[in-house]
Symmetry: C2
Subunit: 415 residues, 2 copies
């Protein structure tokens, strides 16, 4: 029996999924800032202290009372009495009183009583006397406590991705740990009687599974934590059991490929049997990717992607990636894109949003060319190895001409 | 005592370091392909098998002898005898002999004797008879073994960074493990009597250490494995011991900040005391970053970077990052760059290659503006938090004018 149903457009499919996707309460975890690279800050960070925490000297020289230096110049130095030294990292042991000066180095705290620092270059020491050849004004060569960051100031905003600079800022504030969003766990499973786990011996009629690996890494690429379930045995009960387990342990589930046992549309039936809501969309008017099926079970999204590796990765990029990034805590999820020129005339499939896999070639002239890579059954691996990204052609467009400018959505970032 | 020496230019400094940097024999390790995300392939990967490994059907239909279908059309179907079914993943149990047909699904192996597949749409089954309404030619609807990848073909080249697509290709070839370059271990240490470890209580005159954290994460950003040594105690013997240990356990060592004990140029002396070659360069004509010192000890590079966090990160980007990426196995190391317009007139320091930290602001008009961020002692943390990258001004340039186009070297990638 053939079932005829109107396929959803890509935008309709996105809307249906969005209606059922509620990552409102992202889990938060506290981790060491040394482990926080690439993670997303889960709360605004406000300074718990002034930075610098004390008035510090910005030069090497002598801490003085500014008014003691009044009138000093090269021809008429003013004489002050040496009364000690302050080094960095130490509490000053002496005060500066009228007529005295304390030797100080860059970064050391200004001793009590001093309100300016004269640079070494403008002084001369003879025994216990310091000659000041240059007058200073109040606060000269002093960085005041809080001049860089004021206590209670918001320094980093929730949603920021943490790199070397942001983690340096957290360290400066004395934070050894930080609250970040927990990485969403995404279970990845492959189905198909023909599939064998890599590493195992390949028997006649079998091929190695690709998707459980490529999709697990794709989950990592967008900041999620894959839970590798591998190839499911081709028995309905075992598939049901594995899916139930996946839904329990993970925040999202991705399967790919067909199920050989039973009728052709067995996957939607299995998904419907696992709980409500069951299947929310079954088939999307895109090429490739038409058989894409999405279910909600126990409030978790389950994606059933096509078996062809490049198609699975494409649908992952179109529908799954933005949601995982959302769960990771990335507010604005965008594919990386580059402009290029179509290497040949590109045609859409009739009535379906069409995605053409392309390889980017930089010509000697500097022009970036998007060369289509063959897909379909005839090039599963070569496509994967060669496609840098994909070009989208709308349902209504007749074709994209050779040398026309196109936007290439990249499969991976260019870093 | 003041030492006068001619500072090396940035290019001279790079040359001196390059002469002593020999990452010829990168360590190789075998890891699971599930752990291989972002790692660099250490050897060419050649296919150990044909892909597909067998002739497979590209459609659902009947496997036949092509010559049996000769002359078939809609008005004059040819009659064949049904003699079994082949599913995906199974070894065909029946042969196709003259006048017979075997039901076959997409991806299933072509049974012996068959040399073409007729699509279901062009057939009709009545009991044990199959009516063929369309002639097929030899090899029609068959994907031959090796049509995608031939056994012994080189599929991925050494030096490739592994992502979802490349790891999918490895899986397709049945590889559960892969040889990648080991991550270089980089020890990161901070020196300075004023420094306190984040998380500890801050006593008077102290500040929290930033660099051991920001530089550890910077090491991660370029694919290395930081070994966090934290803040060294301000005692010459302990600094010497820690450095010796760092050189033993790591492939490269990065320190930052000054040493308060002893005379001002104590770090070069400590480094020289640790073994040959000792210090290979001491001071670079750049601003900021002038006090940068580099040593070679036991054939390992030891970088002594400035204490100011943004200066340390800048010198890391200029001198250290390309070398770590080289050790990671990345052949061509390039900073990510964007073009922007200078937000104001920018001046170089006299006689020194000058680097101005900038924040990128996208104006409503779409123009990308590089706004200078104040550096120096007066903005250690705000600079870190705000600087997206830096603009380089050559020693010989008078200034960069406001609104002039500049290249901004980014501190982090834009992904």
């Amino acid at each position: 029996m053939k079932m005829f149903r109107k396929l959803l457009t890509l935008d309709e499919a996105k809307n249906v999924i969005q209606q059922h996707f509620k990552p409102k309460n992202l889990r938060i975890e506290e981790i060491s800032i040394l482990e926080a690279y690439k993670r997303i800050l889960a709360e605004d960070v406000t300074a718990a202290l002034d930075i610098p925490p004390f008035n510090r000297s910005t030069v090497d020289g002598y801490a003085v009372k500014a008014k003691d230096t009044f009138g000093a110049d090269e021809n008429k130095p003013i004489e002050l009495k040496f009364c000690g030294v302050v080094n960095v990292g130490e509490q000053p042991k002496t005060k500066v009183t009228q007529g005295t000066a304390v030797e100080i180095v860059t970064g050391a705290p200004i001793p009590e009583g001093a309100d300016a620092v004269v640079m070494f270059e403008h002084t001369e020491r003879r025994g216990s006397l310091i000659y000041i050849y240059n007058a200073v004004t109040k606060d000269e060569n002093i960085m005041k406590a809080g001049a860089d960051i004021k206590k209670s100031e918001t320094v980093l905003k929730a949603g920021v991705q943490l790199g070397s600079r942001e983690i340096g800022v957290l360290a400066a504030l004395g934070m050894k740990k930080v609250n970040v969003y927990a990485m969403p766990k995404v279970a990845v499973l492959s189905t198909g009687a023909e599939l064998t786990e890599p590493g195992a011996k390949l028997s006649q009629g079998k091929i190695y599974d690709i998707n459980a690996y490529s999709l697990s890494v794709a989950v990592q690429e967008c900041g999620g934590k894959p839970i590798y379930f591998g190839v499911l045995p081709d028995e309905l009960n075992k598939i049901r059991t594995a899916l139930r387990k996946a839904i329990t342990v993970a925040d999202m589930v991705i399967t790919s490929g067909g199920v050989s046992v039973g009728p052709k549309d067995v996957m939607p039936r299995v998904l419907n049997s696992l709980g409500s809501l069951g299947v929310i969309l079954c088939g999307v008017a895109i090429k490739p990717g038409k058989p894409t099926t999405v279910a909600v079970i126990d409030e978790k999204l389950v994606f059933s992607l096509p078996g062809h590796p490049t198609s699975a990765l494409l649908v992952f990029h179109l529908l799954v990636r933005p949601l995982i990034q959302n769960m990771v805590g990335i507010a604005k999820s965008e594919n990386l894109r580059v402009k290029a020129l179509a290497g040949m005339r590109l045609f859409p499939a009739k009535g379906r949003r069409t995605f053409i896999m392309v390889k980017l070639n930089r010509e000697k002239s500097g022009r970036l060319i998007a060369e289509p890579v063959l897909t379909g059954l005839s090039g599963a691996i070569t496509t994967l190895a060669k496609a840098d990204g994909f070009v989208e052609i709308s349902e209504n467009q007749q074709f994209i001409d050779a040398n026309e400018e196109v936007t290439v959505n990249l499969f991976k970032s260019l870093d």
